[in-house]
Symmetry: C2
Subunit: 407 residues, 2 copies
């Protein structure tokens, strides 16, 4: 009888958000008369913008006629979209080649799968709190080791991001092989400014460390000194892969599209004294286990890069940011300690002294019928915080704020 | 510096179809005045049927309005589609639970990723010739061992399917842990009839072997005694996972949707003397590294299961089968030895004595501007054969037949 991949047995039974969903379902079943508002999972609520809808309809028409039908596409994505991504980067002053852009079905898939390219013995570092996919995907491949105290794994390197260090990770004593960075950060909503990111790129270059940079929330940056891409930093092409998503900029959470940038300059050790390029390895992976993002979805993503599309989606982003400002202000006014919410759709709330993050989750659910995400679910250093998201409708956000005020 | 997953270095540089595409591109560049017709890669050419197009437009409308907008969907797929799949199986007399159905973005992804659940030491068997994804995905995880003679890997078990055994694999001396089966077969176009499949299910039950059953081409079955699902065989629920695709039945190669069936009864060893269920493991994998198939694509897939949709797509399938019959007849009339093409869109042509499969590929390309797929690309036992596909337009198929006649 085939034996299970032992690493799967070391995982927590549920993916964090599945666990929260189960708790909320149980609460709703027990309290059918109460309306629960979610500030929990980071899902958008605004419909797709007109430019995207128009592009989708047109692409559907293509698919219904022999002349416009598109079957298997290039696994790496259509050139029209990869070139639109290259142009988008050019607006940031970053020069890319279209061969460095890989279109995927979402940053979660791409980030989750990317670790496959590395040796099982690679030392992986994550910030703490952390988006669970970085940890779980490595754990599934045996790279995280065994569970130890506080829900951690004994082979991962955790870099705490807490109020004491301004949510900027300190350099570890010994350089890991790979570091996942996310800015604007999920879950804390905080950012790495140009100086901090430059320091990390320099560290990576000096120590031969690879950075997997998750830029899923870059559209929410409002302040000037925060890079929208790690490739704005000199030398980053030698040490970083960047993951972009259409989910949060354009409401593609249910449409699924991402762009992953793997520079041609990136080399990793071949374990035999030489090196090998990461771009080809990722292409080989995608060609073997993936069959490309749907044509109609890629056409929709292309529309996000047009003048009309960009204006429409950024209008939605500003709407979500207005929610963030409102939640943040209300909580501050009530004396809560809050972080994030300025360059991100996430507010990271410090729970009152003596209340754990799951305790605060229960309190918000039971007292105010609000769903948050307990910080502890994102890692040991998330204990004492909860994450609130600004993706609700303005009405729900207003109602949530009013309930928060009456806590 | 992070070290590469050594298993990647043991792979052939290119995925088979990428290599063929490169050769064809070079030929076209050198001969721009000649029209090349592809009977190579198994991509469909007919546009999406009206029922699917209608469902797509309606779903796009949903996504453009707050009331109908769908963000993150369930990773396992929407209930509406999983239930439609359950109903489809009921038509075959197979009873499934909707929790056993996982909607994915294509059988290639699902089959490619599924092996992650198994221990690195698992003994994997494949039929030979074989769809390269089964081999390469295991090779990437170190389960195939090292390359050895004839493009094989030294840790995989190869079960030849050749004319001498009627393309039905013989039982191996020692039972492997996992066997990939594909019927109707890609690339040979041959099938396992009820007796042959029953024998394999019995073998699996007796030996504790898991069968990964690829049913991507079941819609092409025209003969009575060929099962459309492995679950038509008694006891298969204890030993088999089945992969279904919308690509070949409904032209979804560029739309991307699949259904993978993981029965609740399936248990694999936990390596500690007990067992663990595969359904939960696959759910955990998908929840961590996948974010669900796009809502609009799932609505399109649902339309395939309606009365109108089914009639329309089966009409296309019959059209492709008519191509297969025509190609098969023409080749037979010319004295070629041909297999497949009756319950499958693939014709498996025996190359003339003394001509290798790549040699015949070159001959067809240079003499007739036809692209086939060399059998050797599918494995050592594919040497001496080439695969021709019936997915062309009727016009291209007629032209290809006329060129074949003048060879």
């Amino acid at each position: 009888m085939v034996q299970v991949n032992q690493s799967y047995l070391s995982l927590q039974k549920n993916y964090l958000f599945t666990e929260i969903a189960q708790k909320v379902r149980a609460y709703k079943a027990a309290n059918p008369e109460l309306r629960v508002i979610s500030l929990g999972i980071g899902d958008v609520t605004k419909p797709l913008v007109p430019a995207v809808i128009e592009a989708l309809h047109a692409a559907v028409e293509d698919m219904g006629a022999a002349a416009g039908f598109h079957g298997y596409g290039p696994e790496q994505g259509y050139a029209f979209l990869r070139e639109a991504v290259v142009d988008e980067y050019a607006r940031l002053g970053v020069k890319l080649d279209a061969d460095e852009v890989f279109i995927g079905d979402g940053a979660k898939s791409d980030i989750g799968n990317f670790q496959e390219l590395f040796d099982e013995k690679a030392v992986i570092a994550v910030t703490d709190p952390v988006y669970p996919v970085y940890v779980d995907s490595n754990a599934m491949s045996g790279r995280a080791g065994l569970p130890c105290e506080q829900g951690r794994f004994d082979r991962l390197v955790y870099l705490p991001c807490v109020r004491e260090n301004g949510f900027v990770p300190d350099f570890p004593a010994k350089a890991p092989d790979v570091l996942y960075l996310c800015s604007p950060n999920n879950p804390t909503g905080t950012t790495l400014d140009r100086a901090a990111l430059t320091a990390w790129v320099d560290y990576a270059r000096k120590n031969g460390m690879l950075i997997l940079y998750d830029a899923a929330y870059e559209a929410y940056i409002t302040e000037k000194d925060i890079p929208h891409s790690i490739f704005e930093i000199e030398g980053a092409r030698e040490v970083a892969v960047e993951f972009r998503s259409y989910s949060k900029i354009a409401g593609f959470t249910g449409l699924r599209c991402s762009a992953t940038i793997v520079p041609q300059d990136l080399r990793i050790s071949d374990g035999k004294g030489g090196d090998t390029d990461l771009n080809s390895l990722w292409r080989r992976r995608q060609c073997t286990k993936y069959n490309g993002c749907p044509y109609i979805v890629q056409k929709a993503a292309q529309a996000v890069h047009t003048e009309a599309g960009r204006a429409q989606v950024m209008d939605q982003v500003r709407g979500y940011l207005a929610n963030a400002t409102a939640i943040r202000s209300a909580l501050s006014a009530q004396g809560f300690e809050v972080y994030g919410g300025v360059n991100a759709p996430y507010i990271w709330l410090r729970t009152p002294e003596g209340t754990t993050s799951w305790g605060f989750f229960d309190l918000l659910l039971n007292k105010a019928q609000l769903v948050c995400t307990p910080g502890a679910g994102f890692g040991a250093s998330g204990e004492g915080y909860v994450r609130l998201t600004a993706f609700g409708t303005p009405e729900d956000t207003a109602e949530a704020i009013s309930r928060l005020r009456s806590l």
